[in-house]
Symmetry: C2
Subunit: 181 residues, 2 copies
Amino acid sequence: MSEAPVNPGGNFVKTVPEGDNRQRQVCADCGFIHYENPKIVVGSVVHFEGRVLMCRRAINPRKGFWTLPAGYLELHEMAADGAIREAWEEARARIEIDTLLAVYTIPRLSQVQLIYRAHLRDKAISPGPESLDVAMFTPDEIPWQEIAFPSVRWALGHYRDSQARSAFTPYSNPEGENGDF
Amino acid sequence: MSEAPVNPGGNFVKTVPEGDNRQRQVCADCGFIHYENPKIVVGSVVHFEGRVLMCRRAINPRKGFWTLPAGYLELHEMAADGAIREAWEEARARIEIDTLLAVYTIPRLSQVQLIYRAHLRDKAISPGPESLDVAMFTPDEIPWQEIAFPSVRWALGHYRDSQARSAFTPYSNPEGENGDF
């Protein structure tokens, strides 16, 4: 899962614009009101022959740690298409979506994560520019000590729990967990 | 479902920032790069004693038409909490979430909608500032000719379809539909 680049430019101050009821970031130079909204992350637990696809991050945060193929939904993109695109960009994996596995909210980051259960269309995978390495792990091989983010751990657990089911309510944050380390 | 106010200020031109691979809105005055992201709408089909809650819109777009309580997720807010907040703001309704009913994508608007199935905690409802009127409708009373948005129609149909089920995969856009009128 990737982070947006830091925004350069803008001379922002926090103030309540006229007619609004919340503080917003307003540029003191040009007057632009930057409405900040939660962001949507789309990703997938991709399985094939009893293994799941993981990517070792080539970028910060958590460079060198293992994650699932996931990233920000783009403008005008269907959510499932975004998950398919991220699997290609990060692992050169061609995937097919099975079902929606989980909807997580990370309030600290203002992220809603839509995580799908998917499978490989063919065996070929290789690292994209944001990955140092990609691998298909059996449950015993998953590097649990080197997982990049709490929600990756949740998704892998929820995937395992879901394997016997065809229709289910998507999982959400484990009780009391908000994604902080 | 409400719209964000139009952003005043900013003298934006579309250009590809250094190190990026997509066109972004960049302010010619202050250099701020305005990354645009899809937005998350949270809402609910709220039932009670065989009826569902609807709100008649007091604001454009689609003023005077009937909708479900829904709106943009705020920063740092859990998705289900946002749906609870919107039911209060638009219908002064105190609700409890049952389950996630549907995840819709409206690519034209770059919206992902998380629609919950919920129920009233008590009977009291009244219009909030964005509603002209609120009502609890039986299936026969729903004003099908005066529905504000296609996704409201989808959600009502999916709610009806879901009533007999306790655990199910959330519904998504009906086949071939993208939310355009």
